[in-house]
C-alpha cells in the first residue's frame, strides 16, 4: 500500500514497507550510537569514538538509494553510514570492543570500520583522505562498465581540504560515477562552518567543477533520498559527479564524551535542532503508528542486545595477530 508522504519530492516508487525500513534503520543507528556512547563512558570501548546522533537521515537517505555493489567511503563519524550500508552489526560492535571477531580484527577500531562484503570501503580518519579514493573507485567503476557508483561521505570541515577540490575536479573532467555527500553539521570540532568556509552553501562549490550542486534538508530522510537517487542516476548515465550538501547537526559533542554544548555552541542552539530530530521528522512524515513504533523499537533493542553479547563473548585478538598482514 502506498502511503502519502509529505516531502516536497516524495518518491512514488517506494512502498510503506520501504518507509518503515528506512525508519527502522535510522532507529537502529540511534540505538547503536547510544550504546556506543554508553560503553565508551563505562570504559569498555577505548580510544576515539565519534557518534552520529542527529545525522541518521543522511546515512539512511543516501544508502537507501544505493545497490549493494555500489561503494561507500566514510569518515571518523561513520557508524551510521556503515549500518545503513548493511554492515554486520555483531562484527562492528566487536571491532569497537577490540575483539578478534571485529571487522578489522581489532586493528582499526571505531574510526576505521569497513565491511567490503557490503560495499563499505572503509571509514577513513584522516579528514579528506576518502575523497581521492572515491575518485579512484569511480575511475575503476567507469573502466569496469557495470554501472557501479561510489559515494563519499564527508563533513563541512573536510570540504576545506585540498583533496576535496582535487577530487571533484578529477571526477568532473573524467565524468566519474561519484557522489560527493557533504554532511554540513555546522562544526569541525569547535570551529563553525561560517568561519571556516567562505561560501554559505557548500554545494555552491560544485560550480567550480561544472557539476550540479544541491543543498538539502539533512534532517529529512526523503529529501536526502531523492537528491541521492537523482545524483546516482546521473552518475550511472555517465554524466559525472554531483555534490550534495545536507544541512544537519550532531546532537552530541565532537567525540568521546565531549559535552553536548559549550563552550562553542549554546544549549538553545542544540535544542532548536533537536526539535527537528530526524527520527521525529520521519515518524511524522511516514505516519508511523504507535504500534509500529513499538514493534520496531523492540526489534532494534533485540538486535543491539545480540550485537553486544556477541562482541562481549568474542575472544580477544591474539597478540601475534598485531604483526599479521604486514608484508614489508
Amino acid at each position: 500500500m502506498a502511503a502519502k508522504v509529505k516531502s516536497k519530492s516524495a518518491s512514488r516508487s517506494l512502498s510503506r514497507d520501504d518507509y518503515l525500513r528506512m525508519y527502522r534503520t535510522m532507529l537502529c543507528i540511534r540505538r547503536f550510537e547510544e550504546k556506543t556512547d554508553e560503553l565508551f563512558m563505562a570504559g569498555r570501548i577505548k580510544g576515539a569514538v565519534h557518534v552520529s546522533i542527529g545525522q541518521e537521515a543522511c546515512s539512511v537517505g543516501v544508502c537507501s538509494a544505493l545497490n549493494q555493489d555500489d561503494a561507500i567511503l566514510t569518515t571518523h563519524r561513520g557508524h551510521g553510514h556503515s549500518i545503513a550500508k548493511g554492515t554486520r552489526l555483531n562484527e562492528m560492535m566487536a571491532e569497537l570492543l577490540g575483539k578478534a571477531t571485529g571487522l578489522c580484527k581489532a586493528r582499526g577500531g571505531s574510526m576505521h570500520i569497513a565491511d567490503i562484503s557490503k560495499g563499505h570501503y572503509g571509514a577513513h580518519s584522516i579528514v579528506g583522505a576518502n575523497m581521492p579514493m572515491a575518485a579512484g573507485m569511480g575511475l575503476a567503476f567507469q573502466l569496469e562498465g557495470k554501472g557501479r557508483v561510489a559515494v563519499v561521505f564527508f563533513g563541512d570541515g573536510a570540504s576545506n581540504q585540498g583533496s576535496f577540490h582535487e577530487s571533484m575536479n578529477l571526477c568532473a573532467i573524467w565524468k566519474l560515477p561519484v557522489v560527493f555527500f557533504c554532511e554540513n553539521n555546522h562544526y569541525a570540532v569547535s570551529f563553525h562552518v561560517n568561519r571556516s568556509t567562505a561560501v554559505r552553501d557548500i554545494s555552491l562549490r560544485a560550480q567550480s567543477y561544472n557539476a550540479p550542486g544541491v543543498t538539502v534538508d539533512g534532517m529529512d530522510v526523503m529529501a536526502v533520498y531523492e537528491a541521492t537517487k537523482e545524483a546516482v542516476a546521473r552518475a550511472r548515465r555517465g554524466e559525472g559527479p554531483t555534490l550534495i550538501e545536507a544541512k544537519t547537526y550532531r546532537f552530541f559533542g565532537h567525540s568521546r564524551g565531549d559535552p553536548q554544548f559549550g563552550p562553542y555552541r549554546t544549549k538553545e542552539e542544540v535544542e532548536r535542532w533537536r526539535k527537528r530530530d530526524p527520527l521525529l521528522v520521519a515518524e511524522k512524515m511516514f505516519k508511523v503508528t504507535e504500534a509500529e513504533k513499538k514493534a520496531v523499537q523492540g526489534e532494534v533493542a533485540e538486535e543491539m542486545a545480540v550485537a553486544v553479547e556477541f562482541a562481549e563473548k568474542s575472544p580477544e585478538a591474539p597478540l601475534p595477530s598485531a604483526l599479521e598482514d604486514v608484508y614489508a
Binding site: G47, G98, G108, I126, G128, A188, S190, R195, H254, A322
Partner: protein
C-alpha cells in the same frame, strides 16, 4: 621553580614568547579554545584572534602559509593536531621550509615552528599514533626537538621560537599530563645539547622523547636488581649531540637506544651508527635497540602495548646487552 604539567609548561613558553615578540603568532585547528589537548589555552583571550587563529582543516594550506609568513619576517608557530597529519603538509615543510634558505643563497631564512603531538598509548589506532621524527631527522634543513619533560618542553619551545630556522617540535601525548619542576620566566634549552637524566655505571640508555620516561622507569626497576643504568636524553635529534652520548658510552661500555618510532631506519639506527663511530673501542657488547615493532600501531589496547616499547622491553634489552658481554 614550581611543579607544573608539560601542557602548562608549553603554554607558559607560548605566553612568554608572544609577549616578548609581536612577530610570533599561532595558526592551527581549534587553537582558540584549545579544544583537543589544551596547549594554546588562554592565548586567544590574551593576545587576540589576529595572533591566535583558528584555521580550517587545511594542513597543506596552513603550513604553507606559515612558510610564507616566515619568509615575510614573522614567526609563525603552527599546531598540527596529530603528528600523523603532518604528512599532508610535507611539501611546504620539506621541499620549501627546509630548503629555502639554502636554495635562495642565504637571502632569507624561515623562522617557523611546527608543534605536533605524536605517539601512541591512547588507542587511537594506526593513523593517530605515529612517531615520525626519524623521517625529519634524515632531512637537512629542519631541526627536530623531542622534549621529554616539562622543563625541557618550555626551554626548547622558547628556543625553537627564537630560532631563525624551521623547527619540528614533537610533543608526545603521554607527556601532556606529566608534572615536573619548571623554572619561572626566562628558561632556554639550547638545541644540540644532550643531558644525562640519571647517572649510572653499567649501561647507557639513550631515549627519544617520551621513551626517556620509560628508560627512567626501566632504570629504576633495574636498580632494584643491582644494575646501574645511565639515562641520556638527546633532547633534539637534529642537531644531535653525539659527543655527550659517546662520552657516556665510553664510561659504561654498553648501550641500548630506545625510541617509539619504528625500528627500521629509526632515530636509533643513526644514534647507534654515531656511537660505533665515536666509541667503538669502548663497546663491550653490540648496541641494543628498542622501538615500535615494524607494524602499524593497532587500536586495541593489548595489541597496541604489544607493538610499542615499554619499561619491561627496555629492561630485557639491557639484560641482553649485559649478558652478551659475558
Amino acid at each position: 621553580m614550581r611543579e607544573i604539567t608539560f601542557v602548562e609548561a608549553l603554554n607558559e613558553a607560548l605566553h612568554e614568547e608572544m609577549d616578548r615578540d609581536k612577530k610570533v603568532f599561532i595558526l592551527g585547528e581549534d587553537v582558540e579554545l584549545a579544544y583537543v589537548f589544551g596547549v594554546t589555552k588562554g592565548l586567544a583571550a590574551r593576545f587576540g584572534k589576529d595572533r591566535v587563529r583558528d584555521t580550517p582543516i587545511s594542513e597543506l594550506g596552513i603550513v604553507g602559509a606559515g612558510v610564507g609568513a616566515a619568509m615575510a619576517g614573522y614567526r609563525p608557530v603552527i599546531e598540527i593536531m596529530f603528528m600523523d597529519f603532518i604528512m599532508l603538509a610535507m611539501d611546504p615543510l620539506i621541499n620549501q621550509a627546509a630548503k629555502l634558505r639554502y636554495m635562495l643563497g642565504g637571502q632569507l631564512s624561515v623562522p617557523m615552528v611546527v608543534r605536533t603531538p605524536g605517539g601512541g598509548g591512547v588507542q587511537y589506532g594506526p593513523t593517530h599514533s605515529q612517531c615520525l621524527e626519524a623521517w625529519f631527522m634524515q632531512m637537512p634543513g629542519i631541526k627536530v626537538a623531542v622534549p621529554s619533560d616539562p622543563a625541557d618542553g618550555k626551554g626548547l619551545l622558547k628556543a625553537a621560537i627564537r630560532d631563525d630556522n624551521p623547527v619540528l617540535f614533537v610533543e608526545h601525548k603521554m607527556l601532556y599530563k606529566q608534572k615536573g619542576l619548571v623554572p619561572e620566566g626566562e628558561h632556554l634549552v639550547p638545541f644540540g645539547r644532550a643531558v644525562v637524566k640519571r647517572p649510572g655505571a653499567d649501561v647507557t640508555l639513550v631515549g627519544v622523547g617520551y621513551q626517556v620516561v620509560n628508560c627512567l622507569r626501566a632504570a629504576e626497576a633495574l636498580a632494584a636488581e643491582g644494575i646501574s643504568a645511565e639515562v641520556v636524553d638527546p633532547r633534539t635529534l637534529a642537531p644531535l649531540d653525539t659527543a655527550t652520548i659517546a662520552e657516556s658510552v665510553r664510561r659504561t661500555g654498553r648501550c641500548v637506544v630506545v625510541e617509539e618510532g619504528h625500528l627500521r631506519s629509526g632515530a636509533g639506527s643513526e644514534i647507534a651508527a654515531a656511537i660505533q663511530q665515536e666509541a667503538f673501542d669502548y663497546l663491550d657488547a653490540p648496541i641494543g635497540r628498542v622501538a615500535a615493532l615494524d607494524a602499524p600501531i593497532p587500536f586495541e589496547p593489548r595489541l597496541e602495548a604489544f607493538v610499542l616499547p615499554n619499561p619491561d622491553k627496555i629492561a630485557k634489552a639491557v639484560k641482553q646487552v649485559l649478558g652478551a658481554a659475558v
